[in-house]
């Protein structure tokens, strides 16, 4: 799809004569990603679901990946576009390493590179249908930023994509503070992920948490959150409306 990006000028980019060669809708999508700064670095969480419309089709999709030595990338949206972005970044990091000169691209540089890529694609009416969270630590400096599919980008102490913005960020605004310990930060993230699990239709109960500090990157094994469904209102759901289901 990408190689036939530059259709001849006489065919408008918006026409469908030949058959459009640009992204119109996403097909296999990931839902929210949440990222927060904590005492030693950045923590990110995302579930492992790849939805095909309303079907929860793929349940082992890794949406958190490490980039170079200093960065972590999490993506929501079209999974195939995320894989394309990983290929771009792979090449970027490769060329960076080939200099072999002691300099390396930090999270700030990767974030801005991704912003350029996303914005340029948006200008060609052929976006990469993702919302990205980019976090990392370099030389003791923590960095956390986000880029949307139209190239909107900013940094903050806590960021989220999709439903995470509506359900997780309010919790983080109340409960995030500077210098969270690792345990507290994980608890906070799990609290947010639990709310998303209850309320986001495309969330599944299998998630990974990724940690990046000055020394190392770790992406956890997949695990599930404990949930509670024993509310009395669920005992006899049709109590007030006989005949319904």
């Amino acid at each position: 799809m990408n190689s036939i990006d530059s259709t001849p000028a006489k065919n408008s980019l918006l026409s469908s004569e030949i058959g459009s060669e640009r992204t119109l809708y996403p097909y296999v999508t990931g839902t929210s990603v949440i990222g927060i700064k904590y005492k030693d670095g950045i923590l990110m969480a995302a579930d492992m679901g790849g939805s095909y419309g309303s079907t929860l089709r793929y349940k082992s999709v890794e949406r958190l990946k490490s980039i170079g030595k200093h960065s972590l990338l999490g993506a929501s949206g079209e999974i195939s576009d995320f894989q394309e972005i990983l290929r771009y970044l792979d090449e970027l990091i490769l060329y960076d390493n080939m200099w072999d000169d002691g300099n390396s691209l930090g999270p700030k540089e990767v974030h801005n590179y991704l912003t350029r890529v996303m914005y340029n694609r948006r200008n060609k009416f052929n976006p990469l249908w993702n919302s990205l969270v980019l976090g990392g630590v370099k030389n003791g400096q923590k960095y956390l930023g986000t880029v949307s599919m139209i190239g909107v980008h900013f940094e903050d102490n806590h960021v989220a994509t999709g439903f995470g913005n509506h359900l997780a960020r309010p919790i983080l605004r109340d409960e995030w503070h500077e210098n969270l310990s690792f345990e507290d930060a994980v608890k906070l993230l799990e609290k947010c992920m639990r709310v998303l699990l209850y309320r986001d239709r495309s969330a599944i109960n299998k998630l990974q948490i990724a940690k990046i500090t000055e020394e190392e990157v770790t992406i956890s094994q997949p695990y599930s959150l404990k949930t509670f469904w024993g509310f009395s209102a669920f005992q006899n759901p049709t109590k007030g409306a006989e005949g319904s289901w």
Partner: protein, 260 residues
Amino acid sequence: MFRNQYDTDVTTWSPAGRLFQVEYAMEAVKQGSAAIGIRSKTHVVLASVNKANSELSSHQKKIFKVDDHIGIAIAGLTADGRVLSRYLRSECINHSFTYESPLPVGRLVVQLADKAQVCTQRSWKRPYGVGLLVAGLDESGAHLYYNCPSGNYFEYQAFAIGSRSQAAKTYLECKFETFMSSSKEDLIRDVLFAIKETLQGDKLTSSICTVSVVGVGEPFHIMDQKTIQELIESFEIKEGEAADHGVVPDRTPEAAPMDI
């Protein structure tokens, strides 16, 4: 260096394995007026001797700001230097735009060196006739590099290029071990003394030289003439009190040691 039958083309090797056109380009650097650079852990200072064709004309610009954190001083064909400085500025600004981050000096220097190398291997090109002292700051500290028309580059603690640069180098060689821990003021003092060494008995005034500084928390800038003149005057007074360590100051109007 004499004319021979292998020196017409840059793409012709001599039997001794030399590319004479490249070496002649390096000669052009030696003919230009002097440029000197000194670096410490946190600062790099560049200075150049201002040469003017006549008293009526203005002098040539030899120090260029490439980015907030990088500047260059050139010696040789200044037109080539101007073109290269435009290339360097372009590379820096493109990097800043894509990565929101200053281009590491070491990478810029390699790109410049690769560009120079191309001209040593194309029959329809000629080598750039200019040597560049690249001074810059990045994550790994302060750096001073010398880029040669041959496409080679080296990192230096201190260096001098252009005519009568050997006199300056002799001065720098005596003092270079102290430079790493020098203050900015000491670096400027040393670079002014080094410039003085290259002047063949001419008086050192601020109209005859240009000095620029880049350092931690201090973007690259060229110092103004008035400040330089004040510094020269304050250093000359001190010079009368205590002679330079180990270097015989050439204060008589005799010819300084010729370069080459």
